[in-house]
Amino acid sequence: MTLLLWIAVFALLLNSLACLWRVVAGPSLADRILGVNVIATNTMLVLVLLSILREQGFWLDIAIVYGLLGFTLTLVASRLVETGRLRFREGAR
């Protein structure tokens, strides 16, 4: 079970690396925010799996805070995009 969970942790990290491509390349600003949102979810899951692996409950508190922060980040950033206060440089939307 421990081995399976470690494999899961590294699979999540690989997933995040793949999503990083969308953050770097994504043509619009919203694409980048979407990629960051997915990476935040994956990081939260890594923290949850670490709490099981290390048998320490405090990782879960960190995971809850991280999940709430990722949600707030996405909401605020999309609000800024919607009202036009957050722009990207010329050539991209």
């Binding site: 969970l5 979407l34 409950g57 990722g70 996405t74 999309s78 995009v81």
Partner: protein, 108 residues
């Protein structure tokens, strides 16, 4: 016997969640425009994270840990669709054009 069954169920749930998260990543990387990508990413995010958290709650040592994972599950199930909706709405108002297909009537 029961412990073995619980471990197997938890591991299976975690693996199923990982499979859904991988689908979401593939959709995020491969689909043609923002709206398709947000559709794939948020849906697979909610389902994959939900299944992984459920597996974690099954595998957790104490009831308190399982309860905290259930709280995280509720958070994910509320936050992921909300974030996806807010993001695509913002992109629509900011003027991101939807993909019209590669047929004869236009396309990009």
């Amino acid at each position: 016997m029961i412990g073995w069954l619980v471990d197997a169920a938890g591991g299976l749930l975690v693996v199923a969640g990982l499979v859904f998260l991988s689908f979401g990543t593939v959709g995020l990387l491969r689909l043609p425009d923002l709206y398709c990508r947000a559709h794939a990413a948020t849906k697979c995010d909610a389902l994959g994270a939900g299944l992984t958290l459920l597996g974690g709650a099954v595998l957790a040592d104490s009831g308190g840990d399982a309860l905290r994972m259930a709280a995280l599950l509720a958070l994910v199930l509320i936050a992921s669709p909300t974030a996806g909706h807010a993001l695509t709405r913002a992109a629509w108002h900011a003027g991101v054009e939807p993909w019209r297909g590669e047929g004869e009537d236009g396309g990009d």
